[in-house]
Subunit: 331 residues, 2 copies
């Protein structure tokens, strides 16, 4: 870990240049993340974990493995960390459960897999990959998805595994707010703490064979009800990949779905020959126009990246083909 | 009903012309629907029901109501009929349940609603509309979606309501096939009877205010497992609408998701200025290239329609602003 931190510290200073060819980009969520509300310890922890995810994914690419394996390696690191709203750090639903969604898409053949509403699968991204590779379906949900994951030999954990004190307190605070006043349409953001921390994680990788994979994993919104499904497991909304570009989103999921965010970005490149940076920024602009917020990461076949967001911050990082790491949190 | 049939019979002969302005288009599923396997009685029943759906939706538009109301009226007619794989005629899952999905999108403001995996909501499309209009979410699933529908006062029925003999026998046949031989990846189509009848229903309407709505409702695939979610409730896959065009798909859902079918069609119009007919055909071609099949209906803001499919047939119909009805089943 010490070595990782050192590597990160040394390389964070690396100038972020368009000339560099990136092979992996990750995010750990967008939201009201500001320097003033962040402790040094916490910032170091986030930077270290993002570096670890980048190095894990990079290692797969370096070995000549597929971008699917790279995305899996990077996301598993973040799912296993309580820092992010995915896997171990998933937020709580209104009913006090952790209900997780994940998806993956492989640009080579546009194969895809997704799971929604699982409570016991340790690494939801692995379940999404199993759906993609070992079923004839794209999307499974609820108990069915859990049974499928069990059948495929994925690690199943007790529901208690996902309980973290910080997330539990977030729910209690929101429940108290709900009890003390009627939540109107105007206070939706407040009721779901949507601006506080989305915390969804995602990764997009480009392997040595030239193929792109995008993946996303999340616990959704604190206090969510009615088995709500957000954009993370929706192919075309939170995740998309084709032969040209891969995208993973993080933000207010409802707006990402309505904007078909990930597909919109790819379509602007595919049909209008727009650069990844312009296509990505325009997509965030469209989400903002609808009234939503969040961010996304994108990586194209030439190794160019874009990481726009319209929130105060977004945990994000990328690594070049030479292993240079770039990490940012604030605007 | 007699009057409806007469109206339909008189108007079916109407020449399908590009000059006509259509205000509503519906489908009742694509698949292996051929003249040789169809009885006259059955064909008349399908034509009559599609006409009834068109007239119900047309009546809303004629009154100056929104395209959301028109789509709802048309789809409810088909959901309440055992002829289609939606609502009353929903197919059975592997476990012998009826598990329904639906979605709606309103082009005016890109608002959207969807429900996945409900067992007791009489009209899934109404639940999707309630999600769009009465919740801050876009997609709800399973028991949560049912609780939401109950809370909003929608009609809840006993699970037995959805049991139809024909669909039950389809499941039994597939289960017998499964028992008699191992299903390999190569016989997926056989295992799920995917080519036999998709039967998903959908509607796209253009109201007098110039706004488009698209909606889709389905029971999914016979013998589906693991709480599989298909394209019907996925915004951008089975359903999409913006200010320019609305789309509803029917077919092998996994391919429609991977092709982000509905959004792809709209993107070709939005970003490449392609006509609705070309954009629609190219979308079906992309689905076919991936290995999938099915069809879709699309209606643009000028009243142009497209209804391409790459299966043997698709139950489909449209109605002009003057109330002229056009219905087709085969190629």
């Amino acid at each position: 870990m010490k070595k990782l931190l050192l590597t990160a510290a040394l390389l964070i200073a690396t100038i972020y240049s368009a000339q560099k060819k990136y092979v992996l980009v990750v995010h750990g969520g967008a939201g009201t993340i500001t320097k003033s509300t962040m402790t040094t310890e916490k910032e170091i922890a986030y930077r270290a974990k993002l570096s670890e995810a980048l190095i894990a994914g990079y290692s797969e690419i370096h070995k000549g493995n597929t971008s699917v394996q790279a995305v899996a390696a990077a996301i598993v690191i973040m799912e296993d960390s309580p820092l992010f709203n995915a896997g171990k750090g998933a937020v709580f639903t209104h009913d006090g459960t952790n209900e997780m969604d994940a998806s993956i898409m492989y640009g080579k053949d546009k194969s895809a897999g997704a799971i929604a509403g699982v409570h016991t699968v340790k690494n939801p991204i692995k379940a999404a990959i199993a759906v993609m590779q070992q079923s004839e379906h794209v999307m499974l949900s609820g108990v069915g998805a859990e049974n499928f994951a069990t059948e495929k030999g994925l690690e199943i954990v007790d529901r208690a595994y996902f309980k973290t004190e910080e997330r539990w307190e977030s729910l209690q605070k929101l429940l108290q707010n709900e009890n003390s006043k009627k939540t109107s349409q105007n206070t939706v953001a407040e009721a779901y703490e949507v601006d506080q921390k989305f915390g969804t994680v995602g990764a997009v990788a480009l392997d040595k064979h030239g193929f792109i994979t995008a993946g996303t994993s999340t616990g959704g919104m604190t206090n969510k009800k009615w088995n709500r499904i957000g954009d993370a497991p929706i192919i075309g909304a939170g995740t998309y990949a084709n032969s040209q570009v891969g995208i993973s989103g993080t933000g207010w999921g409802e707006y990402f779905i309505r904007a078909t965010a990930a597909r919109t970005l790819a379509a602007k490149m595919e049909y209008q020959n727009k650069s990844i940076k312009i296509a990505a920024q325009e997509t965030i602009d469209e989400i903002e126009k609808l009234g939503g917020d969040g961010g996304l990461i994108a990586l194209d076949k030439d190794g160019n990246i874009a990481m726009p967001f319209n929130t105060a911050g977004m945990y994000r990082g990328a690594i070049t083909e030479d292993g240079e790491i770039f990490i940012e949190i604030y605007k």
